[in-house]
């Protein structure tokens, strides 16, 4: 059950970006603007998957790029720019998520997957629902996870980062990443079972 790395948004055009990373992080504002234009969709995809709200996600991404600019002197070129960017975005989103939880404003899912109908098997379910519907369902269910499980699940299962990368971004052990993954996947499986049985 080795997973395939998602083809979408996790592999920005590194070669194109490399030039602008160097110039943009060197303080060249037009080059930094190009950097933002190049990477914003990747940062936004991550933020939206974690937060589930467009406006909150845009705020987080905007704040992330401001921090990139402010701390550009601390960037280590040996680290992939996306890893650094994802680290900043993730921590901002995690803080926002915890704040939203405290205020009870987290956009929860509707709790059950039952609205997806009563397909008779997992394969039928995959045929019955478009990938967009499946993505919406999984995203909605993941929003019911506690903040840390949700962030780990998004980074690993939806963004396709390795366990080691996730541990590095969140500054936790790989064992902790795996434990959170197990809890998150158990929960999702329990919610998906009704339509996959």
């Amino acid at each position: 059950m080795e997973r395939e790395k998602p083809e979408q948004s996790t592999d920005p055009p590194q070669q194109l970006a490399a030039e602008f990373v160097g110039r943009g992080l060197g303080g060249d504002l037009p080059a930094f603007r190009t950097l933002v234009d190049t990477f914003q969709k990747y940062a936004y995809a991550l933020a939206f998957r974690i937060l589930g709200e467009e406006e909150e996600s845009k705020d987080a991404v905007q704040e992330a790029f401001i921090r990139v600019w402010q701390h550009r002197g601390k960037y280590d070129p040996k680290v992939r720019f996306t890893t650094w960017l994802y680290t900043i975005v993730t921590h901002l989103c995690y803080d926002k998520l915890r704040g939203m939880r405290r205020r009870n404003t987290v956009p929860f899912g509707d709790g059950e997957a039952s609205h997806c109908g009563d397909a008779s098997s997992g394969d039928d379910a995959e045929r019955l629902y478009s990938n967009k519907e499946i993505a919406a369902l999984v995203n909605r269910l993941s929003r019911q996870l506690p903040p840390k499980q949700r962030v780990v699940f998004v980074l690993r299962d939806l963004q396709g980062l390795s366990v080691r990368e996730v541990a590095g971004i969140l500054r936790i052990s790989e064992s902790s990443v795996k434990a959170n993954l197990v809890y998150a996947r158990k929960f999702l499986r329990s919610k998906l079972d009704p339509i996959l049985m």
């Binding site: 997973r3 234009d37 914003q40 790029f65 919406a136």
Partner: protein, 253 residues
């Protein structure tokens, strides 16, 4: 591997466990039909997750994020002493948005900057009301924004000036009877200078073509942007030094 361990491990993918664990896991799956059935359900769920991952998040790309980020950077490039004005400046930029309105703003700033630069280059500052402002501010007990020193003060201090204000001609004017240290003008000058340098990259190509001279002025740095905090610190230090040298009755509170 027993059933209990299997049912924990089955939520991890192959590349998340060691090869030995994976071998044990597969061995147990083959021998235990109940665990194998459970694992098939987990596999289906994870396949669903993989389909969701491949689909990507639902909303489209954010629009205008680059503009918003650059606007905030421009606003935050302002000296820290203007921090109270940041929200208003940010709101102004947000309200103006991009395009010709911003170009118009930039043009207006260029003209204002030009007039201030001309004022400085003439070597004089307007000092008509400085003394009365100082008097009023001192009477009101507020910290004066402007300090002036008279000819008699100047004569006492003249021998010390070269060591006190070397290279500060641009902002500390010695004009006939007066040394004028004008904080407001200095800040305004620096504010506009920084704004213009920061806004230059945002100007569209049409603007550059239509206003080559202005573009040249903006894109070629005329001088190193002044460091606001250093200048303010130097100004405070200079005022203190000058003040200390004055007779007691002339000292500014």
């Amino acid at each position: 591997m027993n059933c209990s361990t299997f049912r924990e491990t089955m939520y991890l993918r192959e590349d998340e466990v060691s090869p030995a664990e994976w071998t044990d896991f597969q061995r147990h799956r083959i021998t235990c039909e109940r665990c194998a059935a459970e694992y098939r359900r987990v596999e289906r769920a994870l396949r669903f997750v993989d389909l969701a991952a491949a689909e990507g998040p639902l909303p489209g790309e954010p629009h205008g994020l680059g503009d918003a980020v650059v606007s905030r950077i421009v606003a935050e490039r302002l000296p820290r002493s203007f921090s109270a004005a940041k929200p208003a400046f940010q709101a102004l930029l947000d309200w103006l948005g991009m395009g010709w309105v911003r170009v118009s703003l930039a043009t207006a700033l260029v003209l204002i900057w030009g007039s201030i630069a001309a004022e400085y280059s003439s070597g004089y500052l307007r000092i008509v009301t400085l003394e009365s402002e100082l008097t009023n501010e001192s009477a009101a007990g507020t910290t004066p924004d402007i300090r002036t020193f008279t000819r008699s003060d100047l004569s006492e201090l003249s021998s010390l000036l070269p060591t006190i204000i070397p290279g500060k001609d641009a902002f500390f004017q010695v004009s006939g009877d007066w040394i004028v240290i004008n904080k407001a003008s200095m800040e305004r000058f620096i504010l506009l200078y920084n704004d213009l340098q920061a806004l230059a990259p945002l100007l569209p190509p049409e603007f550059r073509a239509a206003h080559p001279e202005l573009w040249k002025l903006l894109s070629q740095k005329q001088k190193t942007p002044p460091d606001m905090e250093t200048l303010l610190r130097e100004r405070q230090s200079l005022i203190r030094e000058l003040n200390d040298l004055l007779p007691q009755e002339r000292k500014t509170p």
